[in-house]
């Protein structure tokens, strides 16, 4: 299958986010080791759920002795934000055959969603589905490799390295935001999201970011219209 320029562009734009993604999953692998999850179980969770916050939520709950049903429920609820992301992406991919969309739906996550969203706002966005696929592909080895390294390391990773690697994504996203804000409503969305999310995440762990984003989106869209 030929690889398009948009696919390659997607791969390139994903590179700066990879160290953070890799590190997040190193953290998950280490936490899975500490929670006594067998390596095969930890890998199966990584591949099937494919989202770090839900994985952490399941591990947290498993330590407190929850039932299997509770673990599954918290895993699904922690991922509700993907529904909103897929609604947005579905508007960008309206010409793509459904079969292909359903195949690639498993890779809907924060980084492919946000980077594709930014690309869609450019004057010549190109083929957004190829771009999204290009972002998703290099993430797979980063996620699985991070889990493997985390399991292997246990609790022995150098603190400075972990600290530095976790900064790639927030700084990268801040730079993208600074480049892309186009109106005062968007600036308000960014300002409110930045300030309110940590408070709401503290109050409602795992839910705060999604509730905050949807609330801000709803308020600003109503205010503008």
């Amino acid at each position: 299958m030929a690889v398009s320029n948009d696919f390659r562009r997607g791969m390139r734009v994903c590179v700066p986010a990879l160290p953070t993604i890799f590190t997040i999953f190193i953290g998950y692998g280490m936490a899975a080791q500490m929670a006594n999850v067998p390596p095969l179980g930890a890998f199966a969770m990584t591949v099937a759920i494919y989202a770090a916050p839900a994985l952490y939520a399941i591990l947290d709950l498993s330590i407190s002795g929850a039932t299997l049903f509770q673990l599954i429920t918290i895993g699904i609820l922690a991922n509700l934000r993907f529904f909103v992301m897929s609604v947005t992406l579905s508007q960008m991919f309206r010409d793509v055959p459904l079969k292909r969309l359903l195949l690639w739906a498993q890779f809907v996550a924060m980084t492919p969603f946000l980077l594709t969203f930014f690309q869609s706002r450019r004057e010549e966005p190109g083929n957004l589905f190829d771009y999204y696929r290009g972002i998703s592909v290099p993430m797979i080895p980063a996620i699985i490799g991070g889990t493997a390294v985390g399991i292997a390391l246990g609790g022995n990773a150098p603190a400075e390295l972990i600290f530095g690697a976790t900064l790639f994504m927030p700084i990268y996203f801040s730079l993208l935001l600074a480049i892309d804000i186009k109106s005062r409503y968007e600036m308000a969305a960014v300002g409110l999201g930045f300030t309110l999310t940590p408070f709401l995440e503290t109050l409602i762990p795992g839910w705060g970011m999604a509730i905050c984003a949807v609330g801000i989106g709803l308020t600003l869209s109503l205010a503008e219209s």
């Binding site: 067998p38 330590i63 991922n79 309206r94 359903l102 927030p170 968007e186 984003a213």
Partner: protein, 126 residues
Amino acid sequence: MGNGDLRRRDRANLITGRIMTLNQWLFVALGAGVGTYILRAAPFLLTGRYMLGGRALKFLIYTAMSFFAGVVSKSLIMWKGEFDAVELLIKLTALIVALALYARLKSVLLSLFSGVFLAVALKYFM
């Protein structure tokens, strides 16, 4: 099995009073994975064939921007769910330096790597 493995197993036993088997973990992976996949795929089936109206699109744009900002502030302020004033100061310094470098050089990668290396250096010496 090494001593480390024994200690971890003992710790998990003490906390939970049980150890989940591999099959149980695979069952959780399958259940949560299928549920999450439905969340991811359903909008492509439900809304993908229709063009949403202007207000709905605005809502999605503002929600996405807010998500974006939320990811940044959550990573900066409460990484691992803990607040650490010194780490926050280092991260904010790195972020400001990266933004200032971008304003001057217009290079995302150079600004990004400069900010991260500055943060690692500050963390190492503080």
